[in-house]
């Protein structure tokens, strides 16, 4: 891949890169482009009748690429939610694994059991989640407690959720517990202003999730979720505090959900096109692309090449996954317990 050295970007107005190298910046852009391409693929396959369901994270690319860059592979733990394709990719998930999930093939990480984008990989430090809102928060607090108990300084848990999840009792219980025990954990709220059809104003009476942090006795930080470098910085600082024994942080990244909740939802029933079009003007993907070109991190040609490469990778992963078999009917019965199980003995 063609990258320029940062030295050659001297003549361009400097942007705050918070210590990120050219290579890291390009990697973040790649994650964002890959996220968008794979997501579009999911929607296409659904419209073609090839898969029953897909969900979308368009608008979350910047926060997820930034947060993933702050994650230490092989050491940290990610407890995501179902709208975290970019984060999952950013910590090492492959396009093949994504397509296997979309097609619910036997080779999928959950063996075709779970909805798309509900990945679990012990190798990546990626926790298994359900579709149930906020149910993963206590798990994340428990994982962080295990790290602390074992005195594994240098490790931390990154747990993510949308704005809607903050209303759940389990969210409250998890933040409270993490604060009491000063756990190595970062609570990252991807506030996209919509919980299916419920706007933020019906989710909470004041619009700043991070302001709840003080009530638990932890720092609360707000960050522009459309700016991947700012998101990297906010999450990296919080993760570093967590890894070094400084306790939990609540980070709120303000982003926006550009698409409907899922392929089963039609957002025109509850929000205006004007609102969505207005927010599209802040689309983080072309903005970051421009920023890197203007600053000489990448040439326009290199970006075009990157996009071609991602499309090829997506196409190949699609073909490979589609050609793979479904799980077998007998796979329904495995892994209920450690041993084979019959209800009567």
């Amino acid at each position: 891949m063609a990258t320029k050295s940062s030295a050659s970007a001297k003549h361009v107005p400097a942007f705050e890169r918070h210590g990120l190298s050219d290579e890291q910046l390009v990697s973040m852009l790649r994650t964002m482009l890959m996220q968008r391409t794979l997501e579009s693929r999911g929607f296409q396959l659904n419209r073609q009748g090839k898969i029953p369901f897909a969900s979308a994270s368009e608008g979350h690319e910047a926060v997820q690429a930034g947060a993933a860059m702050a994650f230490h592979r092989g050491s940290d733990i990610l407890v995501p939610y179902y709208r975290d394709l970019g984060l999952d990719l950013g910590i090492g998930l492959s396009a093949d694994e994504v397509l296997l999930s979309l097609f619910a093939r036997a080779g999928d990480l959950s063996g075709g059991r779970q909805f798309p984008h509900h990945y679990a990989s012990r190798e990546l430090g990626l926790h298994s989640i359900s579709s149930v809102i906020a149910a993963q928060l206590p798990h994340a607090a428990g994982a962080a407690y295990a790290i602390k108990l074992r005195k594994q300084t240098g490790r931390a848990v990154l747990v993510t959720f949308g704005d809607g999840a903050t209303s759940e009792g389990e969210w409250h219980e998890s933040l409270n517990f993490a604060a009491i025990h000063a756990l190595p954990i970062v609570f990252l709220c991807e506030n996209n202003e919509w919980a299916i059809s419920t706007p933020l104003s019906k989710q909470m009476a004041q619009p700043d999730v991070h302001k709840r942090a003080a009530g638990y006795g932890m720092p609360g930080v707000a960050v522009d979720g459309m700016n991947p470098v700012a998101c990297y910085k906010a999450v990296a600082d919080a993760m570093e505090r967590a890894r070094s024994g400084g306790g939990p942080t609540l980070v709120e990244a303000k982003c926006y959900r550009f698409l409907s909740h899922t392929t089963d939802d039609d957002d025109r029933t509850y929000r205006s096109r004007e609102e969505v079009d207005e927010r599209r003007k802040n689309d983080p993907v072309p903005a970051f692309e421009r920023l890197l070109i203007e600053n000489g991190v990448l040439t326009a040609d290199a970006v075009a090449e990157l996009k071609r490469e991602i499309l090829t990778e997506t196409n190949e992963a699609t073909d490979r996954a589609e050609a793979m078999p479904y799980p077998l009917p007998r796979d329904l019965y495995s892994k209920v317990y450690a041993d084979t199980y019959e209800p009567w003995r």
Partner: protein, 341 residues
């Protein structure tokens, strides 16, 4: 930990009359007397269980005075003897609950101090922490929906309950809808054996209010007059359409959690003795004497009267019958009911 000034020169009364001050004091005496009676009866083997609210007297007497009888709704928890008395329950009703007699509001079904009285506006609640907070929010929603602008819901809980998910969900909903509700937290620093610093990462519950978008305030729950002032302000705001608040009264649990608990397994005698120095009941007595609201002889007479009433209520309740075995089967659903039809 609650700290009070040792002397009060000019009494800030928030409009409370001498009569109201005396009524609050009598409530506090009655609360302590009935609490002790429950523990005595337990030691005598006459009742299996009792709960104490010693240390909460000032907070509860003050809050009850801010409650408008016949209008407001109280959603209390199980350590609210003084609040129940203060909104109109009688010592006799308390003793029926302690003795689990048939005539008890709950027909002897619930633990002591789990009252419910539609007449008094006191909502039924279980022993499950925080389970009643959404109910209070639902009741407040009903008031708002019906445009009953002069009514509000007073919901109480201890510090431990604020850790429950339902507490959070309920506060959030109340704030979104600007409901006529006052969340009164009786922070006594102990949840059975769990101290406040194991209950939350920072010790000030009222600070959570901002995160929900509502006012929050902390006050000295050993001072019944200050309590009244803060609760009254919050209830008036709720009644006037100004929405909910979280108010936190600092008090202390002088006794063990219940007759089944031994607090010396988890806290020191010294800590309890230190807090006892601020005991709100003798302090309020001294204040009222100093301010000339009561004379020493009037205090004596009041104490005698409270003891007499407690004794009579005890005897009356004890003499009454238990519910019958057949009462186990009533009031499951409306009408008679069997699982198979």
């Amino acid at each position: 930990m609650a700290k009070t000034d040792t002397t009060v020169k000019t009494l800030a009364r928030y409009g409370l009359t001498d009569e109201q001050l005396r009524e609050m004091f009598r409530n506090m005496l009655m609360q302590r007397q009935l609490d002790n009676r429950g523990f005595q009866l337990n030691r005598q083997g006459k009742v299996p269980f009792a709960l104490g609210s010693e240390g909460h007297e000032a907070l509860q007497a003050g809050a009850a005075m801010a409650f408008t009888r016949g209008k407001d709704i109280l959603a209390p928890y199980y350590r609210d003897l003084g609040l129940a008395l203060g909104i109109g329950l009688t010592p006799f009703e308390i003793m029926l609950s302690i003795f689990a007699r048939a005539q008890d509001h709950n027909g002897g079904r619930q633990f002591p101090n789990h009252y419910s009285s539609k007449k008094a506006g006191l909502m039924s609640f279980s022993s499950i922490l925080a389970a009643h907070i959404p109910h209070a929010v639902g009741a407040a929603y009903a008031l708002k929906l019906r445009r009953q602008a002069d009514r509000a819901v007073l919901v109480t809980c201890g510090d431990g309950t604020t850790s429950e998910g339902e507490w959070h969900e309920a506060m959030n909903f109340a704030a979104i809808h600007g409901l006529p509700l006052v969340m009164l937290v009786e922070n006594n620093e102990w949840a059975i054996s769990t101290p406040l610093d194991k209950q939350m990462g920072q010790p000030e519950i009222w600070k959570r209010a901002e995160g929900y978008g509502m006012p929050g305030k902390r006050f000295n729950g050993f001072d019944p007059i200050e309590t009244y002032g803060v609760v009254k302000e919050a209830m008036d705001r709720a009644r006037g359409g100004g929405g909910p608040s979280i108010i936190e009264g600092m008090c202390y649990r002088f006794l063990a959690h219940s007759t089944d608990d031994n607090d010396m397994t988890y806290r020191t005698k010294d800590e309890v003795v230190e807090h006892r120095k601020h005991d709100p009941v003798p302090r309020f007595e001294a204040l009222l004497l100093e301010q000339g609201v009561l004379t020493a002889s009037a205090v004596d007479a009041m104490k005698k009267d409270v003891l007499r009433e407690t004794n009579e209520a005890t005897d009356q309740a004890e003499a009454l019958p238990y519910p019958q075995a057949s009462d186990l089967y009533t009031n499951l659903f409306e009408g008679a009911w069997q699982p198979w039809q």
